[in-house]
Symmetry: C2
Subunit: 273 residues, 2 copies
């Protein structure tokens, strides 16, 4: 297969967008080995020239043209980066011209990157949502539960906390969570604490084998981690969701990103910014 192909992510901001789409593209080439170099915040001509040098050095050392995924808003920086001896994939520029034509107007260079807060409101909404989710983690408090945008329910270790935090951080959504304990699962009714908020409930379920592995790590050889415990808890939880018409998703094969988008759709939630 030879030496790996060098890949540069270059951005005058965080570079996260370039990385996301770049990785999705590289994933399509399972037979090729890549070595990645990430250069975020390339926001001065000096920094840009430094990166160009690095790319050129890599080209000489490896014999092959590096691939440069470039997401640079600033024109001056972009022009410098262009001089690097690489195969350029320029996300911004490629589409900006097309959009200008379609919209019949010129792009006005944004002074703020799209990831900058600019308006502190957006940041405040996130902070507030994170605090809300932390304060309503694991059913610790039903105070202000009426202010929740969504309440995730599931058995212990089904993935509620990371999903709540992701919803809060990414979308500013106030996500509480409620752990279904054996007492809850024995009842045919909804747990007292969440019953008043039926419309905000979303269930998480998980493959019993996966649940067992997670619990085993946490409390080895406990009754809690036994496969039959996991099986019956998961079955009871799913029955509860079905009985009360609560939408639910299986976390086993999903990333937090996927789960979050599923929940947004299912609960018709609007992101807060």
């Amino acid at each position: 297969m030879g030496s790996p192909r060098q890949v540069f992510y270059i951005s005058d901001r965080t570079g996260l967008t370039a990385e996301n789409i770049g990785e999705a593209l590289l994933n399509q080439f399972g037979n090729v080995a890549f070595k990645r170099h990430t250069h975020p915040f390339v926001d001065t001509p000096d920094k840009a020239r430094e990166v160009v040098e690095k790319v050129n050095r890599s080209r000489q050392e490896n014999g092959q043209r590096p691939i440069a995924f470039v997401s640079v808003v600033n024109d001056e920086i972009r022009e410098i980066i262009k001089q690097a001896d690489a195969f350029h994939i320029n996300f911004f520029e490629t589409f900006l011209g097309l959009l200008e034509k379609e919209l019949n107007t010129e792009a006005v260079a944004a002074t703020q990157g799209h990831h900058s807060i600019g308006n502190t409101q957006r940041y405040d909404a996130r902070m507030e949502a994170v605090n809300f989710s932390l304060n309503h983690d694991d059913g610790v408090s039903d105070k202000n539960l009426q202010e929740a945008d969504v309440i995730l329910m599931g058995v212990s270790r089904s993935g509620k906390t990371p999903t709540c935090l992701y919803l809060a951080l990414q979308y500013g959504i106030r996500a509480a969570n409620y752990p279904l304990i054996p007492d809850d699962l024995e009842s045919t009714d909804l747990p007292r604490m969440v019953k008043p908020y039926r419309d905000k409930l979303f269930g998480l379920t998980i493959q019993p084998e996966r649940l067992q592995a997670i619990r085993q790590e946490r409390r080895p050889n406990s009754a809690y981690a036994r496969i039959d415990t996991c099986r019956s808890e998961v079955a009871d939880a799913q029955n509860m969701f079905r009985r009360h018409g609560i939408p639910f998703a299986n976390t086993t094969d999903k990333s937090v990103e996927e789960l979050a988008v599923h929940i947004l759709q299912a609960c018709k939630l609007k992101r807060r910014f």
Copy 2:
């Protein structure tokens, strides 16, 4: 300005990548009003045809061509979406052909989306990091602090918790945090709990006025929220960072994404997946 231009985000996965780059592009057109419609998980021909109908209906109702940002991996779905009467920006397809040529090999359609877990390892790393960050929030425990990848320090309400959680969720990094209380700030030494881990420390600072606004919201008219309290705490914290050569960043004008990438760079952290 007329009616807003309709924008469709269409993906057979979460659509987050399409949205990120799409929003960055639309941000360049401050004079144009847009109305967004998001269609994630368009992963069957039926769903694809439904979306095509929606786009076409919007075109008829609004008179203008909608803009479709499309990020679809599956060929069959992509062909259907193409038939929508819209101005298409096709992230995937645009670059895939170019990359095939450059790499001199054909793309092999991935069976798993890049956001799917596929390997549970990546998911486990995140879960573990989130649990770690929750267990080491606000200096509650110095147990296992040697396992931290980074320890964020800052005065109360300087943005430590969201940043830690973002590092954990996004990069699987074990981020602990330690709040600098007045006792710590009076000393010229580093706080006892974090002193053994000097190399893992990263400081957060914040504009006193912004800090005051946040604290005022939390504990109105307290000494804690007074502007002079905020000013002196922030100054003391910055002095501590400088005295001990601890890298630090100001959270006032930064999003959590930006902060996280800064910290990765400054502490030379490797993401865990």
